[in-house]
Amino acid sequence: MANKVAFLQGNEAAAQGALYAGCTFFGGYPITPSTEVAEVLSIELPKIGGKFIQMEDEIGAMAAVIGASLTGAKVLTATSGPGLSLKQELIGYACIAETPAVIYNVMRGGPSTGMPTGPSQSDVMCAKWGTHGDHAAICLVPASVQEIFEETVRAFNLAEKYRMPVMIMPDEIGAHMRERIVFPEPGELEVINRTAPSVSPADYKPYDTRFGDVPPLAAFGSDYRFHVTGLNKAEDGFPTTKASLVQAEEERQIRKVDANIDDIVTFEEYLLDDAEVAIVAFGSTSRSARFAVNEARKAGIKAGMFRIKTFWPFPDKQIAALATKVKAIITPEMNLGMCTGEVVRCAAGNAPVSGIFRVDGEPINPGQILEKIKEVM
């Protein structure tokens, strides 16, 4: 049977991807330009016995999804810049309490209210550094409607696999663009479910490292009962200030991601084999970059693109290797240099890095990138 094909908006694709992944709970608050996710799920979730709740504010929405996640549900919230700022408090809670949750954040301008209907890529640092304290971060940056669907599924998989909040952040162009999508059949994409405890309720500890860096999480309302807190905790879930336990716990939470970078980091290499100039781009900007690379090739310039699909953890080693192979790197992005700074760090002086920055609410067009390619070559 042929896969179902549709003409779909990015935000609608995110909602469909969440359902494919097995999401049964959405908590949200209206905010442009992500509201369609809430609208679609308010219609679709009750049809499958799932729950949709519009909370009183962004913080409440994040709280509700964490609460629901602790009952075993796969949970999603959707927001945009100002909402992401508000959610940071409890994104930190989800980090320390090691509770799976997916945060779908559409990037518009900022700081503050910024330009609510304009595209931006300026939330990528907020995804990693927004909440206080040391913590790991996973952030996916899809570039098409199809990819928003698929990466939403992957965001759920990573959240459940690593027991942590995972962000998926299209820019406003991707979120509001409509294009062709081919729906995967059930089973076509991998769907990962939470690991259930294998020990008896009496032996269960919610942060039991005998089971590795990602201990199994039981559900409230099952045969298991346990304590969850936002304080630094021991393996039994109860608060501790014992130095060795806190140090070990914090390091383990970082290690969950750091030791699994190759499992998490995804990217696309486009015409890089013989490239002398590499564009490092993500999100909708990569679509302009691809066009610019093709145009450059036509003009006899050996250009290629490294497309970041997973922004956090950052593809450090791939960018480092790239910098030793090309003569120049160009980093177009709809902010004032957030990705560029990371690329400069990874390139470690092996290739010059030139940024193209736009924060005027307009997309970076292929002509701008092509011009820069000609300038650096």
């Binding site: 009750p46 049809k47 709280a63 629901a68 409230f220 309302g221 304590h227």
Partner: protein, 272 residues
């Protein structure tokens, strides 16, 4: 035979963090007795709190316990209850946690009339941080941030809850220990959002600054300023001046509540 509190306490978690003379332990005992009377199943009961002295309560109890972030108990609990409506969900916390930083979540939980019970221990102060004034600190009172006297008017927690749409609102005190479990039992049995405000004392950070010579004096004050709703009915307005009324202050049977309404949404969606 004396009541067996240990049956509901997590082994090895005592002593609790509360200061000598603090009423939170009295409230916890009342809650335990209420849970016993109600026969709530441990695995099917979530106890959710925010941040503060009172919010440490869930850690001592052998249930599904969730110690959330400051002010957020009602919002986390709403997620738990929505996802698993068959669970009993009880919230506990203090006045600062519930009515200041958590004020928005509190009023919206009231408005939704979601079937949970919120026990607010009102000791008129932020105790854990050392005695700053809360939205429930009386005007003129001393706190570490109102050394010249508190200029702020205080919330009436019960009125706030009623105004926001809670369908069961009761008030007790840490002095009237034997009434606490009775109020909680009735609150949990009520279908809808129920609020039980317990007037409490903080001898360490409120009493000392406000010229209470002892815990006994603070406890006696709770006795002296309160009057039961039954007694109040027979009193004149003049006699009631300065009195705080206790008991079940408001009860409305709407015949429905939030998760029951959402179950209807699911039915309608499945037919659509």
């Amino acid at each position: 035979m004396s009541f067996d509190y240990d049956k509901y306490l997590r082994p090895g978690k005592l002593p609790h963090i509360w200061c000598p003379g603090c009423g939170h332990g009295i409230v916890m005992k009342g809650l335990i007795r209420a849970i016993d009377t109600l026969g709530l199943e441990k695995n099917n009961t979530a106890i959710v709190s925010g941040i503060g002295c009172a919010s440490r309560l869930p850690g001592y109890l052998d249930f599904c316990t969730l110690h959330t972030a400051h002010g957020r108990a009602a919002a986390f609990a709403t997620g738990v209850k929505m996802a698993k409506p068959e669970m009993n969900v009880i919230l506990v916390g203090g006045d600062g946690d519930g009515t200041a930083i958590g004020g928005n979540h509190f009023i919206h939980a009231c408005r939704r009339n979601i079937d949970m019970t919120y026990i607010i221990m009102n000791n008129n102060i932020y105790g854990m941080t050392g005695g700053q004034f809360s939205p429930c600190t009386p005007t003129g009172a001393k706190a570490s941030t109102t050394v010249y006297g508190n200029p702020d008017p205080a919330f009436d927690v019960a009125k706030l809850a009623i105004g926001a749409g809670a369908t069961f609102v009761a008030r007790g005190t840490a002095y009237h220990a034997n009434q606490i479990d009775k109020l909680i039992v009735e609150a949990v049995q009520h279908k809808g959002f129920s609020v039980v405000e317990i007037l409490d004392d903080c001898p360490t950070t409120y009493g000392r600054r406000n010229k209470f010579k002892s815990v006994i004096e603070m406890m006696n004050r709770l006795k002296e300023v309160t009057v039961s709703i039954k007694a109040a009915e027979k009193m004149t307005a003049e006699q009631l001046t300065g009195k705080i009324i206790t008991g079940v202050l408001y009860k409305e049977d709407r015949g429905t509540h939030y998760t029951a309404e959402y179950a209807k949404v699911i039915e309608r969606a499945k037919k659509a």
